[in-house]
Symmetry: C2
Subunit: 669 residues, 2 copies
């Protein structure tokens, strides 16, 4: 017998045995689809320079410019008609003020929490576990919405240019989600390069759009397009929209719609560790570039929209950005080429934005699970070292959203941004608390920045929740607290289980053994599988041993008894148990329970287990034995052993009449 080495170094696995150990069909399929498995040691972070980091982290944020202006116009146009085009820029500017303070706030976060700066960690560190659940759940719902909104908007960019695809919006969106999920399950390694091309392409083509647009605007060449076209939203009038003092409400509602623009700002703070050294400094620079880019694009598009008179369509396509592109670039080969490039770039960055959530959601979920607030399965790294369960959960949730809303961006937007602003509020408030507690140099300035960020975020959050409530925000307002309550319930369950399982475990391991050990072999008939179980039983040394037959058919039972007599196995006598109810599992359960009744008995139940070669062979036999095993396992101190007999493997069966002379054993030791 071996004893453990004092250092307890894990030993490498002993050499492969002679037995052929084939991988299952499912595993081979997984290997083919996802590539070879990755060992745990291969878990490492790619270190990113600023240009690559900008591409990796900013797609979610920057891509928001593709729909933010449209969503503001969607509210204004209906309420106040063409007056919308004098209100859209001020509202955009107001949102940019919020963005400015968020960027400042996150500069602080990046410096103070350079390793794990997500809202969950910051909130947990400063306010504790429960508020962290609120921040985390809020973000998780928003990640789901980011995937749904981004793929839906990416699809809209595609179908704006290719009208023939419009009836298939839902299918295309689902295709995007499946593609991204698959890529993430594979564990995309060259993420930096993949991200760089679409992001910079989008920034470049948007730059061209703004330059050409402003040039034409300056020259007076950019004209209004016709409004009131079929499918466009019906224009309201300034009188109707602002009647009865509703003016402020309309403005706040439009502002709330613009809130979608600043989602994704938190992405960099989640991934500071991925930057090249000095991490926090590089991350800060990237953050500011990202904010400036988003601000420029968002504002530029809003200004151009006032000149083009782009009115959103009820169906969502063609998009406002597509209308602006058409009007700015005009016709001709050149114009058309630029227009299609714009749509392609928009589509690509939006799909990429969804990809960001596929990086963030599973990691955040694994934090929750690590703190025992979500199912443990979310902490498990899969075949390719990614959190596969989180990826699959996100894909399913987003797919459901896309189907339910018909892949319509404007139906998703009211649900969006509430979660992210909730997490902004908590994480910035947490930062404020951090400054007060730590009182590090410049803490007063930091406190001012983060407190302002927290207050602004809270205000925006409340505005969104109120003005969008009846449009769908109520779902999130109800869902987040429900989810948090559920997570707390899960946590209590985990904690109570752990408490019970760990109490005096060491004492239990060394507790005295039961006074009596009984081995029962359940046999339905005497075949080689049963014979194998009996052979195994004879290798055991219990206090009592017998074979038990649950007799459903009296003739079968009598035949078996006769066979047993011929067998002459005195060590394993047969007992027949009458079973008029034909409930074999129940009879076995009651029989074993009777053995255990003295409270000081250990019962080992041996079940002959016929292992069939193919799945359909197994289907040909009823599962009574499995049911019996399952039912008996419900009894404490009833230990069910499956004794396998492999059909179709004659070399591996029971005839070992002549043991080999030499000691072949010792492969392991």
């Amino acid at each position: 017998m071996r004893t453990m080495s004092p250092r307890a170094e894990p030993k490498p696995l002993p050499p492969a045995p002679q037995l052929e150990l084939r991988e299952s069909r499912g595993y081979r399929l997984k290997n083919r689809l996802l590539g070879p498995p990755l060992d745990t040691e291969m878990l490492e972070h790619e270190r990113l320079g600023i240009p690559t980091a900008l591409a990796v982290f900013s797609s979610d944020c920057i891509s928001s410019s593709a729909y933010a202006t449209e969503e503001i116009l969607r509210v204004l146009v209906i309420a106040v008609g063409l007056a919308a085009f004098s209100l859209v820029v001020p509202i955009t500017v107001a949102m940019l003020v919020v963005l400015f303070f968020l960027i400042l706030s996150y500069r602080e976060t990046i410096k103070e929490y350079p390793t794990a700066g997500g809202a969950y960690m910051v909130t947990r560190d400063n306010f504790g576990l429960l508020p962290a659940q609120v921040a985390g759940v809020s973000l998780l719902t928003d990640y789901v919405l980011t995937v749904a909104v981004s793929t839906a908007a990416g699809t809209a960019a595609l179908t704006s240019a290719a009208a023939g695809l419009r009836p298939y919006s839902v299918e295309i969106s689902l295709g995007f989600i499946a593609l991204i999920a698959f890529g993430n399950l594979k564990g995309v390694r060259e993420s930096g390069k993949i991200f760089a091309i679409p992001t910079y392409f989008f920034i470049a083509i948007m730059g061209v759009l703004l330059l050409v647009g402003f040039y034409k605007m300056g020259m007076g060449h950019l004209t209004h397009q016709a409004v009131n076209k079929k499918g466009m939203l019906k224009l309201g009038s300034i009188g109707s929209g602002f009647a009865y003092g509703a003016g402020l409400y309309v403005l706040l509602h439009a502002f709330a719609s613009g809130g979608a623009a600043v989602t994704g700002v938190e992405a960099i703070s989640n991934g500071v560790t991925a930057f090249k050294k000095p991490e926090w400094k590089n991350a800060r620079v990237t953050l500011i570039i990202m904010g400036a880019t988003l601000g420029t694009l968002f504002l530029g598009l809003s200004i151009l929209s006032t000149r083009v008179h782009s009115v959103p369509f009820e169906s969502g396509t063609p998009t406002v950005i597509s209308q602006i592109g058409k009007q700015v670039f005009g016709g001709g080969v050149m114009g058309n080429t630029l227009y299609f490039a714009l749509q392609a770039g928009t589509m690509l960055i939006l799909v990429l934005a969804a990809n960001t959530s596929f990086a963030d959601f599973p990691r955040l979920a694994s934090f929750h699970a690590g703190d025992n607030f979500m199912p443990k399965q979310l902490t498990k790294r899969g075949h390719r070292l990614v959190f596969s369960n989180g990826i699959i959960a996100l894909a399913i949730a987003a797919a459901v959203l896309v189907v339910v809303t018909g892949a319509k961006v404007d139906r998703l937007i009211p649900l969006y941004a509430i979660g992210v602003f909730t997490s902004f509020t908590l994480s910035q408030a947490g930062m404020a608390r951090h400054h007060i507690r730590k009182k590090e140099p410049h803490w007063r300035r930091g406190l001012f920045v983060n407190a302002t960020g927290a207050v602004l975020s809270l205000v925006v959050d409340v505005i969104i929740a109120i003005t969008k409530f009846t449009h769908g925000a109520w779902v999130i307002v109800i869902l987040v607290p429900l989810m948090v309550a559920l997570l707390v319930r899960l946590n209590r369950q985990y904690e109570s289980e752990a408490e019970e399982l760990e109490r005096d475990a060491q004492a239990a391991a060394t507790a005295p053994i039961m006074r009596r050990h009984v081995v029962l072999v359940f046999v339905a008939r005497l075949d080689r599988a049963a014979a194998r179980a009996i052979q195994y039983a004879r290798a055991l040394v219990p206090d009592e041993m017998r074979a038990v037959h649950i007799a459903v058919d009296r003739h079968v039972a009598e035949d078996l008894a006769a066979e047993w007599r011929r067998l002459g196995l005195t060590r394993v006598p047969l007992e027949l148990v009458d079973c008029p109810s034909r409930r074999v599992g129940r009879s076995a359960l009651e029989y074993v329970a009777a053995e255990l009744a003295d409270g000081n008995t250990e019962v080992t139940v041996l079940m002959p287990h016929r292992v069939y070669k193919r799945f359909w062979h197994r289907l040909l036999h009823d599962s009574t034995a499995d049911e019996m095993a399952h039912m008996i396992s419900q009894l404490p101190h009833a230990n069910v052993t499956q004794v396998p007999y492999h059909l179709g493997s004659p070399s591996l069966t029971v005839e070992h009449v002549d043991p080999p002379a030499g000691d072949a054993h010792g492969v392991v030791s």
Copy 2:
């Protein structure tokens, strides 16, 4: 240790133990739905007198009159227009000739096979197992079709009278199927009474219809109804139908449609044992009454249809019988009451006819399964002593047919009757062979009758297969041989398994045991569940014993090793196995395989098995342990034992430090 009593009488179960053995929720639900379980002893046959037997066995046969005339007209009207009404009666008479010979043939069968006179048994007895499979499969497909046709026709009877329900035909048909299946799962005991009312009600109301109809016809009061109404089949012309020598084909096609009328004739021969003594004589009388009744109704309706000019509707509703009823009974309170009674009676007997298949299909399937040609599960009697699996299989198959055909009788009819005539042919040919072999008194007359029956059945079968081939009969022509091939494949699988399992089983049971017995306790962490497994391990007496930890996380492994050192369990030393691939199940498999490599080792693998109180508690934990157990079970001589630990049952755990003084044991012995 007990030895078996020499008579090997099954012992009743020992008295219930103190442990609380609750029935599962599923079982309690089953009890509530289906009623209390029935013991095997309660399996008995109700003995039926002729009036009740007629009701029980004839619904399938007699109810065919509800659609047979319509199906003949459906062919004729399209082909030859109003000339159909001079052809329908001759075709009906031709089918009645076939019926006459079938009745004569089955009179022979009933006498010669009074205990099990079904086509399967007769064919097996005279031609062997393979032809019996053909006869059986043919009948089984026809039973499925009987359920589909009868419920669809019953629904048509309902929706003919209640036009508002027509859009829900499929749902209503499925409802009927579900209802009948549920009733059969409950095991309807008072079947005689239940059957009697609708059967005699139908016969009575049909009698009234024919009497009033013929009276009015005789008085010249029964007039043609308007044809060419919206929804009716378009009338052809005698010229188009009989052009190009197609006349004979049209007649044969119409005749084939009428073949549906004689399905169900075999029902009595399946159930002779259910009759009061002398069984075969009573069964014969009932058979003749049934044939006469069917003949009268079928012929009467065909004659009335010629007078009423009832033209089938494309949608199937209103039915021909409904048109005849309206025309014969006329309007007014009296007429309407009789009309609705006619429709209600038709619906009820059709639904009852479906019920007949639910008695026959599961029994026939159990014959196949008993001969190892169908899955064994079909031989198992369920909660209420009925063949539950067969009932469920039939219900699903019929439901699929109803959905696929949209519950349209005329789409189902072409598939119908082929199967039943195939089984008629085989069973009558079998009877002919029987007469030749046995040469009992009057065997020549019997031979003549059965040979004629066989030839006639074969001719009708071929006519149906050819004329209906393109209308759907090809499905059955392909399906039946395919199914037979599948059954033969299943049979080979069963036989080869049985051959392998039974070879030298007695010798295997007494074969020498393995030279070495190793016990391995797989532990992920040291909690009470693991402690429980260790405690159990210590009750075993193997040659070697150790605990094994598959180390995915090095820190966890080192902590566990430290705990183990504190434990000081020298009998169960811990071994750590490195697992960089994170494939815990695979590593465990390879480890156990290495132990087994000498080919003379028995490995017992102990798995701590945490039994959670509720289903959702279990969902919170990953199933790695189950996967491990499953994978390791793939190795011969690797015997996996689940050592249960029950969460939330503190009274049943491991502290039995002071064993009770007295011998509490012996409840069983």
